[in-house]
């Protein structure tokens, strides 16, 4: 017995369901729900831009207003994906430009965006409001100027971690007088040229500005003026936070920070000098997020600062904080949910700071709400990991990066299998895990057995044999993204678990032992996968089939093989009857 609703009622119910996962579930319930849902989906998320064609998306969702696309695989952040691999957004923009003049939001991650694309956006979408480019590249401030000039309704322009050809600061002057930005993040712009007057004027007339992240070129003595023009800022990123100490500049700055009563998040702080740090103290008690990953200050100053921030939920900091700083953090910031500790000198042979596993253990013990960790350090022990796991069963993201590959437990000299095993066993809601240190196939057995909610796994320099990979592919039910480098995983596990790949977004394997023959076979047998072999040494078939490929990127798709590949990328053929042999 089915209860029947009028379609509008069902649509109204769906309007309260916004997450992509849930919308996808709703659309898969039955034919009528599928139809209703597709007409009222307003936000589309495509986790891999090559998994579907823009045309298909537009056909299926005729009324969306917002699209989010991701391009290159995550390991591109570590320079493992050669330049020119792909991830071009232009075809998407071109397709949407014709069909969707009412598009309002575009959010891109790790894609190649050209000035041409930006100009097309500016020209085609009259009600364009939000542009978020995260880790994108390929464009210049000329493209930004086009956006600024034409998008009269622009509310958000966020260029986080992009590589922008910063040709001139003049693009800021292209914003019309009527624009009312809510969010502006230009922290990635590299040139020293900033038009301060244009910036100040812009900030002054955007009365609804809530997020402003400046770039390094904005000097400390300009901050006060800018802050005074935006007293309702909630999120603020400074430029260079260094200058010779001058009392007038200092008091100006302190006054400006106190007048921003709604500040919750601070970032920037390039080249931070401790002398000016107390200027932000008035804002500290309300701070929930602090990004000091460019601030090269030492532990004592950090401790003093953190003692002012009891409501901190999110902290990004360099390892200058040391174990002592983390212990102080653990006692002051009881609401901490996310911690990221970055290495100040990752390539140095010897540790330059006293940051060990002790710091992380302290935080895990003192901060009961801790959920997300990214921690770079040089030593770890199974004992510490077990303690951490027991302290924080609520972890959703745990990424541990022991800087030197294959580092054993420093106390027992054993592999860290048991430690990570404890993490997956106790943290039942773990969604993302990055492994490091000396690890055998054992750790993968634990992961396959316990990590049932794990969606993303990053592995480097670990494991002994195909068994390791087999455990993960056969055991991790929720696995969507798997990225592996420099591990002795070969053909067997991959071919035996080929069907699993259809249920995942993507698999990346570089410097492993997967042969070209296996790649070809996989490509033949799995029509819904694109099996890409990336090899800058030359065509893989100029070597024996048993030869391992350099890099392998496999992803599921309904759009078939792509045709925008550079010469060092080959997609394996789908159908055996088309093989030329």
């Amino acid at each position: 017995m089915m209860f029947s609703f009028p379609d509008e009622v069902l649509e109204h119910v769906f309007s309260f369901i916004q997450s992509d996962k849930d919308r996808n579930s709703v659309s898969m319930v039955c034919k009528s729900w599928y139809e209703i849902e597709r007409w009222c989906r307003r936000k589309v998320f495509v986790g891999n831009c090559y998994s579907v064609s823009p045309r298909m998306v537009i056909r299926r969702f005729p009324e969306f207003r917002s699209i989010e696309l991701k391009g290159k695989p995550h390991f591109a952040d570590f320079n493992l994906v050669p330049d020119g691999w792909g991830g071009y957004v232009f075809p998407w923009i071109a397709e949407m430009a014709g069909a969707f003049p009412w598009l309002e939001e575009i959010k891109l991650k790790r894609m190649v965006v050209t000035d041409e694309s930006l100009e097309l956006i500016a020209k085609s979408f009259k009600n364009f409001k939000v542009l978020v480019l995260s880790s994108c590249e390929g464009f210049s401030t000329d493209g930004l100027a086009a956006i600024a000039a034409s998008c009269k309704n622009l509310k958000e322009l966020d260029l986080r971690d992009c590589e922008v050809d910063d040709l001139s600061g003049h693009w800021l002057s292209h914003f019309p007088d009527t624009v009312s930005l809510v969010s502006l993040n230009i922290s990635c712009l590299g040139s020293d040229e900033v038009s301060f007057s244009a910036l100040e004027r812009l900030v002054g007339r955007c009365t609804n500005l809530r997020t402003l992240r400046l770039n390094r070129a904005v000097p400390l003595d300009k901050i006060a003026n800018i802050l005074r023009r935006a007293p309702h800022l909630v999120e603020f990123g400074t430029g260079t936070y260094a200058a010779d100490l001058r009392p007038d500049v200092y008091s100006d700055l302190a006054g400006a920070f106190s007048s921003c009563k709604e500040l919750k998040s601070l970032s920037g702080f390039w080249d931070l000098v401790p002398a000016y740090l107390p200027a932000i103290y008035p804002a500290c008690s309300k701070l929930t997020s602090l990004n000091l990953s460019y601030a090269t200050i030492q532990s004592p100053d950090l401790i003093k600062l953190l003692s002012q921030c009891p409501n901190l939920q999110r902290l990004l900091v360099l390892d200058y904080i040391e174990d002592s700083g983390l212990e102080a953090l653990a006692s002051t910031c009881k609401d901490l949910q996310e911690l990221r500790v970055f290495p100040s000198d990752p390539f140095g042979a010897e540790p330059n700071v006293s940051l060990t596993e002790r710091g992380l253990v302290a935080v895990s013990s003192g901060c009961p709400k801790l959920q997300s960790v990214l921690y770079f350090c040089r030593r770890m022990s199974n004992e510490a990991l077990v303690t951490i796991a027991k302290n924080c069963p609520n972890f959703t993201r745990f990424r541990l990066c022991i800087i030197e590959p294959r580092t054993a437990d420093y106390l027992t000299l054993e592999p860290l299998d048991v430690g990570f095993g404890a993490i997956v066993q106790y943290c039942k809601d773990l969604q993302r895990l990055s492994l490091s240190g000396l690890l055998t196939d054992r750790v993968f057995e634990y992961i396959g057995t316990y990590a049932k909610k794990l969606e993303m796994l990053s592995v480097a320099f670990a494991g002994d044999s195909d068994l390791g990979l087999h455990h993960v592919l056969s055991g991790c039910e929720s696995l969507r993204k798997l990225e592996i480098r420099d591990c002795p995983f070969g053909d067997k596990a991959l071919l035996a678990n080929a069907a699993k790949l259809d249920t995942m977004r993507s698999l990346w394997m570089s410097s492993c032992a997967v042969s070209f023959g296996a790649c070809k076979l996989l490509g033949q047998k799995m029509p819904r996968l694109n099996v890409e072999v990336i090899d800058e040494r030359g065509p893989p078939d100029s070597r024996p089939e048993s030869c391992p490929v350099d890099k392998l990127y496999i992803y599921r798709t309904v759009a078939g093989p792509r045709f925008d590949m550079p010469p060092f990328v080959w997609t394996m053929e789908d159908d055996p009857s088309l093989q030329l042999s």
Binding site: M28, Y88, A94, G560, F563, D574
Partner: protein
């Protein structure tokens, strides 16, 4: 306890009542201020003057059965009192909404038919919370819905069909080309070029059409412009426009030369379907039979064929250029124009359109 009883026992209250009739025939009277909280009832009273007596009871929509009416009236009775604080109202709502899913569905539907928006919102949100976090199977179970999507539809519900006869022809030519190359491989044993041709099927095809009648200089020019392909895309995009214009011209000319039967005089840039190179693959399987019909041989002049062979070999070598990238640009550039204006030739193409 019904309102009627109250009215009888306390005549001195002098309340006004509205008479309501549910679909099952039963009639009841409800305090006016409570009933009027429902826009639909309000409308019936004011616009049509109904509800003042038993004989002129307002007929409620079918979706409002007595049980649902009772619930709705409870809701109205509470909320129509003006003095209540937001906190009180919220607290009432939270308790009110606790019921099994079946009743919740009925209530949503009933509230909607009475146009009682606040209650529709409340119940809709509650239903949304029930749906959130569940798998399609679980949702189907809860709402007793049929599992009527096919496996194919679950994967990609809007099946991708090739709606362009040009693509089909290209596929046939492609398949033929592959056969030829296979022969050549046996003779010459040139493996490298073949591998390239394999992966770039449509590119290859378009290139031989291109290189054939068009200006092969065009290709060379754009190649030299993009010699340094590792430089920023910014530079590439300017030369891309140039390349697109060149190629569109060349392709137009060629279409009328070798593909007159299927394609006619339309410009290549009008093809919206070309983005779906997936279509191309699809169609290869579909048109395998057509390979043998000999039609293709009739269309390609042998001298042209020679030239094509040479071009392909030459082009396979030059595939070290950025051709694939530009191809994508070209193909996507064509999408700006909708395929609606494209007129259909022959039954084959019509059938494909109909299946969309």
């Amino acid at each position: 306890m019904s309102e009627v009883d109250m009215a009888v026992t306390k005549p001195e209250m002098m309340k006004s009542y509205i008479w309501l009739q549910t679909a099952d025939g039963s009639i009841q009277q409800v305090e006016q201020e409570v009933a009027m909280f429902c826009p639909m009832i309000c409308h019936e009273v004011i616009q049509k003057g109904l509800g003042s007596s038993k004989n002129y009871a307002i007929s409620l929509p079918q979706r409002v059965n007595p049980a649902m009416l009772s619930l709705i009236l409870d809701y109205c009775r509470f909320h129509q009192v003006p003095g209540r604080s937001n906190k009180e109202r919220k607290s009432f709502d939270e308790k009110f909404i606790r019921m099994d899913t079946k009743r919740l569905c009925e209530l949503t539907s009933a509230a909607d038919s009475l146009q009682l928006k606040p209650l529709v919102d409340l119940t809709s949100r509650a239903l949304a919370r029930i749906i959130e976090g569940k798998s399609p199977e679980e949702i189907r179970e809860i709402f007793h819905l049929p599992d009527d999507l096919t496996e194919e539809e679950k994967l990609e519900p809007l099946k991708n069909t090739t709606d362009d006869p040009r693509i089909r022809l290209l596929n046939r030519l492609y398949a033929k080309k592959r056969k030829e190359l296979k022969e050549r491989q046996k003779l010459k044993n040139v493996e490298v070029e073949e591998e390239r041709v394999d992966d770039r099927s449509v590119d290859d095809l378009l290139s031989f059409i291109n290189g054939d009648g068009g200006d092969s200089k065009g290709i060379k020019t754009s190649k030299s412009k993009k010699k340094n392909r590792r430089r920023k895309d910014q530079q590439k995009s300017t030369s891309t426009n140039e390349a697109i214009k060149n190629h569109n011209k060349e392709l137009n000319g060629l279409n009328s030369v070798c593909c007159s039967v299927e394609i006619g005089q339309k410009s290549w840039s009008g093809v919206g379907a070309s983005s779906n190179l997936h279509d191309v693959e699809d169609d290869i399987f579909a048109s395998k039979n057509e390979l043998d019909d000999g039609e293709i041989d009739d269309e390609i002049d042998p001298a042209l064929k020679e030239k094509i062979d040479r071009e392909v070999e030459d082009f396979a070598r030059r595939l070290n250029s950025d051709w694939p990238e530009r191809m994508q640009e070209i193909l996507s550039f064509g999408h700006e124009r909708k395929p609606v204006h494209f007129s259909l030739n022959g039954n084959g193409s019509l059938r494909r359109y109909a299946s969309m």
